[in-house]
């Protein structure tokens, strides 16, 4: 279905590449930094309302079962228990295409079966074990490859493997037949768990028919929408708040079942209800990056890549969508013949949630491994081979021009920085006897152009300070700070004079903080709101100062005319509480132009064949994402993306017990998020050329790009150093040792 977005007014001209900006583009410490280093910053976990009750969720111990009966009488009899919800007493509450939050057929270990509200979390927890559920246990399958097997239990009547997307250009079959070299590989990636340090959770409180929900979320408006659908309330009766939040990485894209549980209990009991997941629940029932099985065939002829065929299967749990891994195969390289075919595979495990560049991280690993294998087969340097297909300014999928593409610049910068010329076939000697050293690289493609709708208001106070209101949220990326920068720049005031009010659905709408959408979606709206405010200020100043409007500008908190500076406060001095309210909305993206981000990562690794340990020594990350609004937060994004990718590449892996369907790695000792001691040197470079076609700020998104190519670069470096290619992430000591044993 086509979606419409209404926009009004005219856009501002984009800041030119050579525009002199005093705040945008300079490092700015975070506007909320003091609150975070003093412990004052309040997270959903920290919300303490008087009389709060605590809800805990009973989860299925079976990977698949029918809930025949729930007996909550013993739980209700426990002192301090205030209510129990389950499928036989809960009103229909629509949730992500299903009618209720408590399924008749539970589909994974951890699926919601019932919930308890009690005076304390401990009482609620104790009550869970008193609920008696009659389950009819059904046959299950949790492993991706077993689920694909036709002999396995069918979870859906249509089967476990569902077609998701098929794309073809050119004639792949013909080119494979005509090729000089054809390589083929089967690649596997493991389920990655988000593990935001703040687990999912919500606190709900009603005041009459007004519902307020505090939620750790990447989309306050999405939570509002979910509550409207579940509870059939007018939007005006719902307010969702998220002041600070402890990470989401895609998993906090909207309402959770816990949100509905909290809201229902709060309404029924008439008290605030807090429902916060623990770490174990977070890792069984709050989403994940799908495990994938991918087959890539690549053909080369006369020194060029002539065809790529990429087929993928993703373990989505029960989700109705798939994070398609074949995106990079379709769009990254200018290759004439491409066949991409993605499948969604149902299993009895927790469903996927978007995880930072969903699909692209997994797909880039398979694609870029295959490109390296092809380059080896063709006897060509893998970077040289990529260069031949990276220069085109036309998107091979849509055949439209890119607004800006500097991928080859990324190659140049990265190759120089890592010392690519040292790379040798078969790798290099390590720093100690027995160790092997390798270099690898991979490219990145992602969107990041942003989108309407997004709206902002800027109130200019009589003293020359300003308040920006926009219904976005800062998920840790520095959104507040870039908003303040763009507002201050446009308005001509100090960044410290800007207060940023976000995380509230009573503010103007802004999109989800995901998909690298935020900066490119909201800062153009903020800029227009600030411009509107500035122009109104100049109207006022023109009258007050009796100077022609055209002779005035705002600079450093003052209205400046030829030779004279009048502080904004002075302009307003006699106007009492006259308030300028500027309004801005995100304009549509240009027609017939494709907005993408590009980048390349280069990795240098050392592998110990005796222990299977892979040590990443250095990653050079180069990105082409338009204008960098704040180099400090931008570097944080890149470093964070690289390190998360290293976790995916080397250590992070959900392990599910096949016979019982239980997640064995639901804690942070068994699930291996990188520690500070696992982190290599990371060199961050930006092309930093504003994309003046994209939007009036010239910036594109940077959330996703840095997590996309790092794992592939590391895998290529390991293959280079070791002389053995391991096509299964993460490259744990176990996989490395098993691969070496198999190779010898």
């Amino acid at each position: 279905m086509e979606q419409l977005a209404l926009v009004q007014g005219d856009d501002a001209e984009a800041w030119a590449a050579d525009a002199v900006l005093t705040i945008v583009g300079r490092p700015q410490r975070r506007v909320e930094g003091a609150a975070k280093v003093t412990g004052r910053a309040r997270y959903t976990h920290d919300i303490r309302l008087p009389g709060t009750l605590h809800a805990r969720i009973l989860r299925s111990p079976h990977p698949r079962a029918r809930v025949r009966h729930v007996d909550a009488s013993r739980a209700l009899a426990l002192a301090g228990v205030r209510g129990v919800l389950h499928r036989f007493n809960t009103p229909k509450t629509a949730f992500r295409g299903e009618e209720t939050i408590f399924r008749e057929e539970v589909r994974f270990v951890g699926d919601e079966v019932a919930a308890v509200a009690a005076d304390t979390e401990a009482i609620a927890e104790a009550a869970l074990s008193l609920i008696v559920v009659d389950y009819e246990v059904l046959p299950h399958v949790v492993d991706l490859e077993e689920a694909i097997d036709a002999a396995s239990p069918r979870i859906d009547e249509k089967g476990n493997v569902l077609d998701a997307d098929r794309y073809e250009r050119g004639d792949v079959r013909k080119e494979f037949a005509a090729a000089d070299v054809v390589v083929e590989g089967t690649y596997r990636t493991s389920t990655q768990l988000h593990n935001s340090l703040e687990t999912h959770g919500a606190v709900a409180v009603w005041d009459g028919d007004q519902l307020t929900v505090y939620e750790s979320t990447q989309h306050v408006f999405g939570v509002r929408e979910g509550l409207r659908n579940a509870l059939h309330l007018p939007l005006a009766n719902i307010r969702v708040l998220c002041d600070h939040m402890g990470g989401g990485f895609g998993s906090k894209g909207g309402i959770g079942k816990y949100t509905i549980v909290a809201a229902l209990f709060a309404r029924e009991i008439g008290a605030p209800v807090r429902c916060v997941l623990d770490r174990h629940e977070e890792n069984v029932a709050a989403g994940n990056r799908s495990a994938t099985l991918q087959r890539v065939r690549a053909a080369g002829k006369d020194g060029r890549i002539t065809a790529i065929a990429h087929e993928s299967w993703s373990n989505v749990g029960q989700a109705r969508w798939v994070a398609d891994p074949t995106g990079p195969t379709k769009g990254l390289y200018d290759v004439p013949n491409v066949l991409a075919h993605a499948h969604r595979v149902l299993t009895n495990t927790g469903s996927l949630a978007a995880f930072r560049a969903p699909g692209y991280v997994e797909g880039t690993f398979a694609l870029e491994s295959a490109i390296d294998e092809l380059a080896d087969g063709m006897g060509v340097d893998p970077l040289a081979l990529r260069r031949r297909h990276a220069g085109s300014q036309v998107d091979p999928v849509s055949k439209m021009r890119y607004s800006l593409k500097r991928l080859v610049d990324c190659y140049d910068i990265g190759a120089e920085e890592i010392g690519w010329s040292r790379r040798a076939r078969g790798g290099l000697r390590g720093s100690a006897p027995g160790l092997r050293r390798g270099l690898g690289m991979a490219s990145q493609l992602w969107s990041g152009g942003g989108t309407p709708p997004a709206y902002a208001t800027v109130h200019l106070n009589p003293d020359g300070t300003a308040v920006v209101r926009i219904g976005t949220q800062d998920i840790g990326t520095g959104t507040r700070t870039v908003i303040a920068q763009v507002c201050a720049e446009e308005l001509g005031i100090d960044v410290r004079g800007v207060r940023v009010e976000i995380g509230d659905t009573d503010a103007p709408y802004a999109p989800i903080s995901a998909g690298s959408l935020t900066v490119a979606s909201i800062t153009p709206a903020v800029r227009l709101a600030a411009k509107d405010a500035r122009e109104q200020l100049l109207d006022v100043a023109s009258g007050v100062l009796e100077v022609g409007r055209a002779e005035l500008r705002v600079e450093g908190g003052a209205v400046v005319s030829r030779g004279a500076r009048t502080p904004i406060a002075k302009v307003f001095e006699d106007l009492e509480n006259y308030t300028v309210i500027g309004k801005g909305s995100r304009m549509p993206n240009p027609d017939d132009i494709v907005l993408k981000t590009f980048g390349a990562h280069f990795a240098e690794v050392e592998v110990d064949p005796a222990t299977g340990m892979v040590v990443v020594e250095r990653v050079v990350a180069v990105h082409d994402v338009g204008r960098i609004v704040d180099p400090l937060t931008a570097r944080s994004q890149v470093e964070g993306g690289v390190i998360q990718a290293l976790g995916f590449a080397l250590s992070e892996e959900r392990v599910v017990d096949k016979p019982t369907g239980r997640v064995l790695t639901s804690g942070l000792e068994t699930y291996k998020v990188p520690t500070v001691r696992d982190v290599p040197r990371i060199v961050v470079r930006f092309v930093d050329v504003p994309d003046t076609v994209a939007n009036n700020v010239g910036a594109k998104g940077l959330g996703e790009p840095p997590i996309i190519p790092a794992a592939a670069a590391v895998a290529n470096a390991v293959a280079n150093g070791l002389g053995v290619r391991i096509r299964h992430l993460p490259l744990t000591p176990r996989r490395v040792l098993d691969a070496l044993a198999a190779a010898s």
């Binding site: 111990p61 401990a122 104790a126 110990d608 064949p609 005796a610 222990t611 299977g612 340990m613 080397l650 250590s651 392990v655 017990d657 096949k658 016979p659 019982t660 239980r662 064995l664 790695t665 804690g667 942070l668 000792e669 068994t670 291996k672 990188p674 520690t675 500070v676 001691r677 696992d678 744990t732 000591p733 176990r734 996989r735 040792l737 098993d738 070496l740 044993a741």
Partner: protein
């Protein structure tokens, strides 16, 4: 957590008396016990906080023997110059346990007496696991990445302690106090495997505590080393570790090689040890000893990687000793 009685005795006698009650458990640093209680893995009705007992946190030279109190913190052992000098493998092992916070909190006694980290045992809902008084081992047909390649029987959980591995190589002994007084147990017989009793990992009776660990003069000062392989450089338990010590200059009189996280108890690579005696640490000798160290390993479905890992680590450990 379920309700429990908290007690804080001030003497060993009082402690063991308090521990004689049903489901009483000793509390040292708490980094293991609190997890067990939160997940209700083992019934706990009484917590006996040993930290009120004075004089159990010493690290001292006791007439030539290195004597370390059970309440000595792992962090203090790691940074002790006495330990680093006399028993480097122990200092290294203590310094590689978990995280700085856990080393600040965790005690040597607790590190030796901890429960296994098997991901089936630690799953609150697996009430039928052998170690929870059940009669099933999920690792046999399940995911056995963490599990034993030596000595498993019914239960295949490995002993997770890094210091136990080092102390096994150092020929230490463990002083145990109980209602009938003290006894000293050689480290080689301190740990018990599932063939003896799958409900416990050590010889400790429920009302016994470790009071001291002693490293004999003969093992002190001789080169020793501890190496640990784990997916991450911090927080993790070992996937395989090795503690090694050679006594004798030029020609090895005694070699002790203890392997951690590969068996229900610290596993002595006795064939490799015997092979080394009377030899010097030449490269080919080391290589042969490393091969012998994995002799007899019987991997489960997903832990065959531990066999080359054992060989690799032993080779590196002996190479490090040869360089001393």
């Amino acid at each position: 957590m379920k309700s429990f009685e908290y007690t804080r005795p001030t003497s060993v006698q009082e402690a063991v008396q308090l521990l004689s009650a049903q489901n009483a458990r000793a509390l040292g640093g708490g980094t293991d016990l609190l997890g067990i209680m939160k997940d209700a893995l083992l019934p706990t009705d009484r917590v006996v906080d040993l930290k009120g007992i004075q004089g159990l946190d010493h690290i001292k030279d006791d007439a030539g023997t290195l004597a370390i109190g059970a309440l000595a913190r792992l962090g203090d052992i790691a940074s002790s110059s006495l330990v680093s000098q006399k028993a480097p493998a122990l200092a290294q092992a203590a310094g590689l346990v978990a995280s700085p916070q856990i080393r600040n909190m965790g005690t040597l006694g607790g590190n030796l007496a901890q429960k296994v980290r098997c991901w089936y045992f630690r799953d609150a809902d697996r009430t039928d696991c052998y170690k929870r008084n059940g009669s099933y081992c999920y690792a046999v047909l399940g995911a056995s990445d963490l599990h034993a390649v030596f000595g498993g029987a019914a239960c295949f959980a490995v002993h997770p302690s890094d210091t136990a591995t080092a102390l096994s190589a150092l020929d230490a002994s463990v002083v145990v106090a109980g209602p009938k007084g003290q006894r000293t147990v050689p480290i080689a017989s301190f740990f018990v495997g599932p063939d003896t009793d799958y409900l416990r990992e050590t010889v400790l009776a429920p009302d016994e505590i470790i009071t001291e660990v002693r490293v004999p003069p003969g093992a002190l000062g001789a080169p020793s080393v501890f190496l640990k392989a784990a997916p991450r450089r911090s927080i993790d338990f070992a996937r395989t570790s090795v503690g090694a010590q050679v006594v004798g200059t030029n020609v090895i009189q005694t070699a002790r090689i203890a392997l951690g996280a590969v068996a229900p108890t610290p596993h002595r690579a006795t064939k490799a040890e015997a092979f080394l005696e009377g030899k010097s640490l030449a490269a080919d000798t080391i290589a042969q000893a490393a091969e012998l160290a994995a002799d007899g390993a019987k991997p489960l479905a997903s832990n065959a990687y531990k066999v080359p890992l054992i060989k690799g680590l032993v080779r590196q450990a002996l190479t490090a000793l040869a360089a001393r």
